[in-house]
């Protein structure tokens, strides 16, 4: 079951939201409604589902409605119409008390400008959400301390926020959001106010935190690189509506509209796509076979090298066509002509990190997992094809 399911979520700011809703249903655009009725459509019929453990990125330019949308999820802004289901429970229908409990137990939030309480120490900031729940002091101090350890701020408990750098302040914000161990963490442009290097560190840490804690994260950003780096799913917004939802690759490879196309045209694909996207199904052979079989295989496939694996698909080495011919001439077994020192990369290696190992080896690059099992091979042609923005054959099934 999805953690969050939003159906036709709409927010209109203005004097008569219901009338604007009617106009939207009649197919009026946001501009026309603004011009003729002075009402602003913040979010226009947004529907999406967020699965548990995902980083769901909502991205768009300023004014696209993304900050409004994230606030609809915990009703900091009341939706005009539409439904939000949290694990099947209707959030829009909750009364004040239920909503408060939901915010206390199930949601955490991290803000663009940190929004730390200046009159409270770091520890008091982090424990705020626990304090309003009425958790006793000892317990909440301990939980807050753990959250601070998690973000690497152990030892800073008794400082005040204005004594910390921007990056550290946002770690406090993150710890505050995580302290109540929420199901969902809402992050509203959480890293936008940080300088680029610190921002990248924080992104990496967030991805790490997410993979160890399995939180569902809704992340707002206007920065496409950020969205591509951390997003499992990306929803692209324009004028309050969602124009495309998909994985980073889907959006890059199959932009749904000219708007999305224009949006992504400057993306450096080599920093986004990974070996997993460009690798092909490998032709392999086991050591029990003879050189003639190997040569025959290579001829059939029109390739000049073969990777050697054991029965468990573990990578042992590589043989080339010349090596196989030599073995036939001199009556050697495969293991004598096999090259053992093969260059292998992990599937999550970025394309721009592939260039160097590729230039160092004449054979296709091997892609292996942690147990050294051969997952696929990368040939130059498919790297170039991917960088040129073409769909990669076999990209899906080789994974």
């Amino acid at each position: 079951m999805p953690v969050i399911e939003a159906r036709q979520l709409t927010k209109v700011f203005g004097s008569d939201p219901n009338k604007a809703l009617q106009l939207l249903n009649d197919g009026w655009t946001k501009e026309r409604i603004l011009k003729e009725s002075k009402m602003t459509v913040g979010v226009n019929q947004a529907s999406f589902t967020i699965e548990a453990g995902q980083i769901f990125v909502i991205m768009g330019l300023s004014g696209s409605g993304k900050s409004t949308l994230i606030r609809l999820l915990n009703r900091l802004i009341e939706p005009t119409s539409g439904q939000i289901l949290f694990k099947g429970r209707d959030i829009v229908g909750m009364n004040a008390h239920e909503l408060r409990q939901f915010r206390r137990k199930n949601m955490g939030m991290v803000f663009q400008k940190f929004a730390l309480f200046p009159h409270r120490t770091v520890l008091q900031n982090v424990e705020y959400g626990l304090e309003v729940q009425g958790i006793d002091k000892k317990k909440r101090r301990q939980m807050a301390g753990e959250a601070l350890e998690l973000v690497g701020l152990g030892g800073w408990e008794h400082r005040y926020p204005d004594e910390l750098s921007g990056g550290m302040q946002q770690r406090v914000g993150l710890a505050r959001g995580l302290a109540n161990d929420p199901d969902i963490l809402l992050m509203d442009e959480a890293f936008s106010a940080l300088d680029p290097l610190i921002r990248k560190d924080m992104q990496d840490e967030l991805v790490q935190l997410q993979s160890s804690m399995h939180k569902t994260i809704v992340f707002i950003t206007h920065d496409l690189d950020e969205a591509l780096r951390i997003g499992d799913q990306i929803a692209l917004m324009k004028d309050g509506g969602i124009v495309q939802i998909g994985t980073p690759e889907e959006i890059l490879m199959n932009p749904a509209s000219p708007y999305v196309e224009r949006f992504i045209e400057d993306v450096d694909l080599s920093k986004v796509l990974t070996a997993a996207h460009v690798m092909k199904r490998p032709e392999t052979i086991t050591l029990e076979r003879g050189p003639r079989v190997a040569l025959q295989l290579m001829r059939e496939q029109g390739i000049s090298s073969l990777y050697v694996t054991d029965k468990g698909k573990k990578l042992i080495g590589v043989i080339t066509a010349e090596g196989a011919s030599q073995a036939i001439r001199e009556g050697l077994a495969l293991e004598h002509i096999m090259v053992q020192s093969t260059v292998a990369v992990r599937p999550d290696t970025l394309l721009n990190e592939l260039f160097e190992p590729m230039s160092a080896t004449p054979v296709p690059l091997a892609v292996t997992d942690e147990a050294n099992r051969l997952l696929g091979i990368v040939i130059r042609g498919s790297v170039f094809a991917a960088l040129a923005g073409n769909t990669i054959p076999e990209a899906g099934d080789a994974r």
């Binding site: 900091l76 915010r103 955490g108 803000f111 400008k113 309003v132």
Partner: protein, 277 residues
């Protein structure tokens, strides 16, 4: 065209009469409460001989903060004692403290209501303007007819005149808390009262203290006016000096008021500063 004059004056007098007739028990209660608070303060301030009190106050100010202020307090209070105004100064101080105390008790909650509710603010703001600009003498009259002559109507008039800054600055201080912090408090599931006590009041405190400081100063400025309806203290000395054209005596009593004013002002603003964190 000859429009008839609106009988506003008659209305007010009718209302005054009606209130006097029907709300007498309430007024008596208020008179008892205010009267006893002033008396208690008065008795406490005059409990010890003047020199002991001067030393005690100086020591207290020393503890709170600056030695300079403590030195000024010692010299200033000694001067008052030396001029022979000690008892009257303490009477004035009791009236001012009582008026300030009641102003805070009324002003802070009203300010909080204003900050929370747009409609309340819409009603209270013009009322405050009215209270501050209507000449204070004008409400001395009904105060006398409700509470009779003496110290109580003086305190009431002081409260009416002095409470607006506390209300205004409490309202302002709470509204000035950045929206994103309020949003954060909401996002973590605070009740309105938790939000008020854990976020808004602590952050508004310096502003509220500035309002309280203003309130104290304004109620001090009312002492001469209240003396016209029988409140004792330095104000009565000044008033007497004015009516008898005794410049020297008026100056002495006025100087004592100035010393009290400076002391109260510096003291509240230094409390304000130590309260910042």
């Amino acid at each position: 065209m000859n429009l008839p004059k609106l009988p506003i004056g008659d209305w007010i007098e009718n209302a005054e009469g009606w209130l006097e007739e029907h709300c007498a028990p309430l007024f008596n209660l208020v008179r008892t409460i205010i009267g006893s608070v002033v008396n208690v303060l008065h008795d406490v301030l005059l409990y010890c001989p003047s020199i002991v009190m001067i030393i005690l106050l100086t020591a207290l100010i020393w503890r709170i903060g600056k030695w300079r202020l403590a030195l000024f307090a010692f010299v200033g209070l000694f001067l008052i004692d030396n001029l022979g105004y000690w008892e009257h100064a303490m009477e004035t101080l009791a009236i001012v403290l009582a008026a300030s105390l009641f102003s805070i008790c009324v002003g802070v909650p009203v300010g909080i209501l204003c900050a929370r509710n747009q409609a309340v603010q819409g009603i209270v703001t013009p009322a405050l303007d009215f209270m501050q600009t209507m000449p204070a003498f004008v409400y001395l009259l009904p105060a006398v007819s409700f509470f009779s002559l003496g110290v109580v109507p003086g305190v009431i008039a002081s409260i009416i005149f002095a409470v607006p800054p506390t209300i205004r600055l409490t309202n302002l201080g709470i509204r000035q808390v950045p929206a994103e912090l309020v949003e954060a408090a909401d996002a973590f599931g605070s009740t309105p009262n938790q939000k008020l006590l854990k976020l808004q009041m602590p952050m508004a405190l310096p502003t509220i203290m500035a309002g309280i400081n203003q309130t104290i100063m304004l109620s001090l400025s009312m002492v001469v006016i209240s003396s016209m309806i029988g409140a004792q203290g330095l104000g009565a000395d000044v008033y007497r000096a004015v009516t008898q054209t005794k410049t020297g005596q008026g100056f002495e009593a006025g100087l004592s008021i100035v010393v009290l004013a400076i002391l109260l002002d510096r003291l509240t603003s230094s409390i304000m500063k130590t309260n910042k964190r």
